[in-house]
Symmetry: C2
Subunit: 376 residues, 2 copies
Amino acid sequence: MPTKNKVVRLPRRSTGARRLVDLPDPFPMHLGGELQGAEIAYESWGELSPERDNGILLFTGLSPSAHACSSPEDPINGWWEYMIGPGHPIDTRKYFVVCVNSLGSCFGSTGPSSLDPATGEPYHTRFPVLTVEDIARSGRHLARRLGIERLHSVVGASLGGMSALAYAAMFPGEVDRLVSISAALHAAPFAIAVRSLQREIIRSDPAWQQGNYEPGEGPVSGMLMARKLGLLSYRSMDEWRHRFGRDVAPGTDFEENPFGIHFEVESYLDYNSRKFIGGFDANSYLYLSRAMDLFDLANHGRSMNNAVSRLGTKDNLVMGVESDYLFPPFQQQEMADRMRQAGRKVRYHCLPCQHGHDSFLVDSDQFGPVVADFFS
Amino acid sequence: MPTKNKVVRLPRRSTGARRLVDLPDPFPMHLGGELQGAEIAYESWGELSPERDNGILLFTGLSPSAHACSSPEDPINGWWEYMIGPGHPIDTRKYFVVCVNSLGSCFGSTGPSSLDPATGEPYHTRFPVLTVEDIARSGRHLARRLGIERLHSVVGASLGGMSALAYAAMFPGEVDRLVSISAALHAAPFAIAVRSLQREIIRSDPAWQQGNYEPGEGPVSGMLMARKLGLLSYRSMDEWRHRFGRDVAPGTDFEENPFGIHFEVESYLDYNSRKFIGGFDANSYLYLSRAMDLFDLANHGRSMNNAVSRLGTKDNLVMGVESDYLFPPFQQQEMADRMRQAGRKVRYHCLPCQHGHDSFLVDSDQFGPVVADFFS
């Protein structure tokens, strides 16, 4: 495995647009424990209206930072560049858009790699159990700090959609609209199994050291393989079939490494995974991944139907894609059905995208118009 | 990870029914290299007819031994017990059924864990590159040694179906019927990607030692995780959804291991993977896995259509299941279509099973009647 420890490092990203707010000190966690001196990182686009009624809070999936979109302070394209901006589906001439880096992540918000003020050492696995509810509540604190008592909308995809659902359930009088994209009321067993295996792969890398690796080091090989499993589950087999066929990757030496990279699809998986792991803290990955497994909206009521009936949003957009294995169509349909049964207004779209769970990141032609219509 | 190195050992299997035949010495391999003193293990059921026209050769998937069915010499149930036997779909009152342990495997046939006569040491990764064609040709030698010049049928599922296809392409005058179950004319990119990641997980386990582990030792943790990924891809998410929901496994300690086993689906995956890895050699796994990636029936002609047109079988049964990710329905349809276009007689069934790629092992109600009809 000659390339085992090679990591593709991305150009260092500008963080000129990143802002920080303090969380209440201490910040109690949903399943016990508390954080001292915790912070949340965010970026924003557009202006808050004098009436303070145009605020949109955007939660992210497991891996992105708050840099959803470029801005004069940070001109690098964000992870949802097509969706946000002047004249874009979420139009920043009209809305004040705030994207929050999830609590527990590693792009400015307090997480396992942050220093614990009590010890002066990184938390590592002494970070308390993280839940989607903690992410939602820290986002609500951010909104309040920005002067927003009542949000126009909460928006999120994947883990972000779960965070948006938790927000609407926990603070029912404080948000008018909900956009859930490729998320779920709770994780399905298949998705739990995939994430469980990803975590086991990371923890089995000796360089994980029970979570106590040095800053900048850690389980590179384990993260690489976990990311490959992620790409296998995010993207769809149909896409790969048309894209790669049985093409052989140039420059691979079958004699030297008969079990390694030979086909183009193997090379693609390797390159794209190396791109990712250069910037992501392994312990953050473990915590955020487990938070997705643990989330169950039903915990916010006497039953799932009761919890859904308590969502305070007056309009809801539920979107998913047909080729998503992790948050499959039946879960999208279930969410929309339960909202309707609870008397909620809901627009539902299961799109025929070919890119699996990650479609919302790339399929602007299909996602853009639906989101634009909702916000117009 | 307190259970990391615990392996569930199965009761030692009787091998009283296992027979061995020598391969030609040396046995040249399809992509170069040769084996000295190589053997093939097999089991058989029923009697060869005086006309020697009732022989069925059965190739296995990646992991099973030749013990497809019980017999007086080995009364333990085999991996295809429902399919083979007196009055069963492949009726041993009528047919002489021979199941071959694939060359390169570890249940009696020569493989990477066998001693290389040239050195007196195990081959490990000095075993030559293994292909489906080598498995087919060693099976053909076995048939000849049993006195069968012309087979009634070759039968196989998964890797075994590829081996059966290779057999029919390589020895077109020597087999009358073909049964391909959940196999493919060549591996799809998604399946290659899954297997590639399984191999990387195994090779990344320090206990793999570049393939040079001691007999009985080896990459237990890597094999365990590779098997879990296998189960994720073999079984279908719908099955798990109905079976597990969000049930929590009893006896798991979330406080002690927040990233480990908590949900029932995680416990299921762990238990079933530990069962498997106790008996399977890691290097055999690597070689057989890569052989599946490398197989392409098109190599047996000027084009895929040409290769299919050269299959000498006069009747063919192509079966697959709707919930199979690894050998998906489009590949089953493609195989049947190309056979028809080549003027071959073919019966095609894509079954609505819920058990994914492994359905042929468990869904006797759906597979049994179709196979029985073909052989009646």
